[in-house]
Point group: C2
Chain length 257, copies 2
């Protein structure tokens, strides 16, 4: 439970410099990405927008009182909760197109930390809400995204509360596959994990060592193959699902046939 508290201090939490007028290009990419439920007036949205560049390892410092919604445009990021004195729980990983809600008033101190260099669009929740009051479609978009985030958070709570270490690690790989997986020639899926073993451990409520041992076990069993620090290839999809506790994995099978 002890952790080198100094390592984080060396990369101090900074409130990322904001470039008040969000670049036209970033707004374009935002609207393109959330197209399925298109935002009617990206121009209007533009006025309340601030763009952030978040360098690898740096965090948006979000103490109590800050209340905003972020859009991740490029890069990969983690939403981290700090538990005194030196524990931390990663609540979610985020990739381009994701919306991150950071409401004020939570009991814990949260920060969005860049795993790789990121571009982010940020809104004060109040600003976004006042826009949404006049724009039901924007309001619905926010609502759907929030409910989606709630669903994923519930899945995480279930895993943290009632799953074993092997199940959690298998779950993790399965949840990452559709987001960052690439199918190769032999139809095997390869993941290039942007996060460290520590990140994975902090996300699953485990230790680095336990995560490493589970990777080792699956490697030995021929379920996965790893090369370097970040590459994981899934060799036996069925076995992986069994390890995640998906009994019979009926749903997935049906859709694969």
């Amino acid at each position: 439970m002890s952790r080198d508290a100094g390592s984080d201090t060396s990369a101090p939490m900074i409130r990322a410099r904001s470039h008040p007028p969000a670049s036209e290009e970033l707004l374009q990419r935002l609207t393109a990405m959330i197209a399925p439920a298109r935002i009617p007036g990206a121009r209007v949205l533009g006025a309340a927008t601030q763009s952030f560049a978040l360098a690898r390892g740096s965090s948006t410092f979000l103490a109590a009182g800050c209340d905003c919604v972020l859009f991740l445009i490029t890069g990969a990021a983690k939403l981290v909760a700090h538990v005194p004195p030196d524990r931390e729980q990663i609540l979610s990983f985020h990739f381009p197109g994701d919306m991150v809600f950071l409401p004020h008033g939570g009991t814990h101190s949260l920060a969005l930390t860049a795993i790789s260099d990121c571009e982010v669009l940020g809104f004060e929740t109040a600003d976004l809400f006042s826009l949404a009051t006049a724009d039901a479609q924007l309001a619905m978009l926010l609502c759907q995204r929030a409910i989606g985030a709630l669903g994923r958070c519930r899945d995480k709570a279930i895993a943290l509360g009632r799953k074993t270490a092997p199940e959690r690690v298998a779950d993790f790989l399965l949840s990452m596959a559709p987001r960052i997986g690439v199918k190769d020639a032999r139809a095997e899926m390869t993941l290039l994990l942007p996060m460290s073993r520590r990140d994975i451990a902090d996300s699953l409520g485990l230790t680095i060592e336990t995560v490493s041992r589970q990777f080792g076990a699956m490697r030995t069993a021929g379920v996965i193959e790893t090369s370097g620090r970040s590459e994981v290839r899934i060799l036996d999809w069925t076995d992986l699902q069994a390890r995640a506790g998906k009994s019979f994995a009926a749903d997935q099978f049906i859709s694969q046939i």
Copy 2:
């Protein structure tokens, strides 16, 4: 990890009978309860509303495909996720005034189960959304409630991932206090817990025995006092917060001075 699977089967999950026209009275109470962000046209809402009576122990059976939002009018309920073969995780407890989002498409099977007899108003999410498209205030209400639920779910994930058994049990009492606590003559707070030890355990990702031991330890230490199965009196608020891991509990103290 073994559990008497038969005990639940005897009280089968039923789709509660719906009384198509929601009673005027229940709608009145709903609008009264969510008054802070009042719904402009409760009459309109009424058309899409179904009222449920959920007897103690019975559940709304919500298999994949169902997608609805529930309002709890009276009683106490738990949102339960079932993890095959016989584990379960309680995601949240609910009390009158609460809104429960039950989106379709989650990976786990969820059910809202009544801890005591409940009255519930239910909406198909699609219906509610189509109403909200024409009504920004309703949309905002939904959005704020969803973000609120997300915040509480994150707190639960943090507790399940990174807190010890004593911390979780203390956390539980602290989280229940503002919702169901009653201050008595000596300004001590008394909780009448509607849920069993099993419910508490399933909510905290622990076993009944561990929860019971933690109650025992706090009783011995003079932090709490219990009488009967459900009554808990908080004697030492400061110590309880310390046990919950709220280091120094600075925020709370300041607001108490």
